[in-house]
Amino acid sequence: MDKLFLVDRKREVVKTYKDFFRDLEKTEKLENIIYESSPYLIFLKLVRSIIDGLKIEMLDYDFSNEEIKRLGISEEMLSNSTKVSDIKIENFNELIYLINKSTKNWKIALYTSGTTGRPKKVYHTFESLTRNVKTGEKFKDNVWAFSYNPTHIAGIQVFFQALLNMNTIVYIFDVNRKEIPELLSNYKVTNISATPTFYRTILPEIKEKIDSVKRVTFGGEKFDPTLENDLKNVFPNAKIVNIYASTEAGTLLTSSGEYFEIPEDKREYFKISEDGELLIHKLLLGESTEINIENGWYHTGDIVEIIEGNKIRFVGRKTEMINVGGYKVNPNEVEEEIKKVNGVLDAYVYAKSNRLTGNIIVADVVIDKEQYSEKEIEKEIYEKLKNNLQSWKIPRILNFVDNLSLTRTGKKVRK
């Protein structure tokens, strides 16, 4: 039987590697910006762009028109395309040959939540995205449960790990949760990588132990020992791995628990500042004019504690960015949007912690009570934000208050 490439139950897509090769051959032109909702088309276009050594950009499908406009992308840019070369792919080795031939010129731009109100663009090369990919005999029979947004760096890294070993990908990111246990068992999934929030959402659905899973990876949020135990229960044969990664750099560190060890050969690229912030040397990063680098070092905004020698633990964030289920939210961006609503005088956006998603977004809002009612403004705010922001950035709780607490310098207090 032909080896499966992708199973996407939600969209009823099942493709073998042979189908994938045929579709790569059939592609005649390629948009310069990938803006697709179907994971198969995203993967297809991604690989086709590598084969032709094209520079492309990747957008989240749920970006609103408003968000795209703010990135400086016009409708015309979205429809611009390039004709691609004729290719023939008979087997997997030929695909790898075509990929390796063109990686030098290929570049991809990804967007990450910026600190100035709009996502910043980071360029990655094939090398920077596949730095942690392992290939070989040991990996060839792996089956991946794919549980990230395919346009985000974590998803792209999982994709390459799977593709370069000719593994099957079972897409579970947006499938009905009730179908997940069956998908994991039927396709004998061996590897899962997801955010802690994703695992917490699916765990209640998994009623029986799943033996096929060998490796469970999580990252993107604060380490949670309870979750680690719950995962060991349902995946008894799995090694549980915690990772530290960022859009700027991709996967940086891995560990089997709360403590990360900086590997011997990478020690010169990591440094901890006097105030405990983890700094990463620019050689480990993607390229961007929008990443702030000081004297060769990138300030991650993550505060770490040294346990001993090269062992560290993450204790918190230095910046204002709020982590909601592994997604970063810039409170300034949300405040700006709320303040655009008629009748809103001021807004203050902050995090409220919980055990499910780490944080949710809360907004305190001051309104012109003489002319507007709380009810109509609440409706207006939600309508506006739904159109203009990705869903996890929208405050889940709105408090109407008479005034915001200000510091003496006139800045709002970020708790």
Binding site: R177, K178, T201, P204, R355, L356, T357, S391, R396, I397
Partner: protein, 78 residues
Amino acid sequence: MSKEKVVLEAINKILEKKGKNPLSELDTNISLRNDLEFDSLDLAELTVRIENETGIDIFEKGIIDKISEVLERLGENG
């Protein structure tokens, strides 16, 4: 406010924003995920709303799904 009322109000607030009909009463057999189709952000909002009113974190001892379990957690502490 009774714990049933706190839970009902929190759930209805979330349903209203999702454009769904509010519950008229609490059926303890209801599953938050399967019957009300709450996603992780809805569940996170629910815990925060309940904690704001009662001071109790319903997910402190693990993630739960049935309304009866929510009331149990509130009862244990209340």
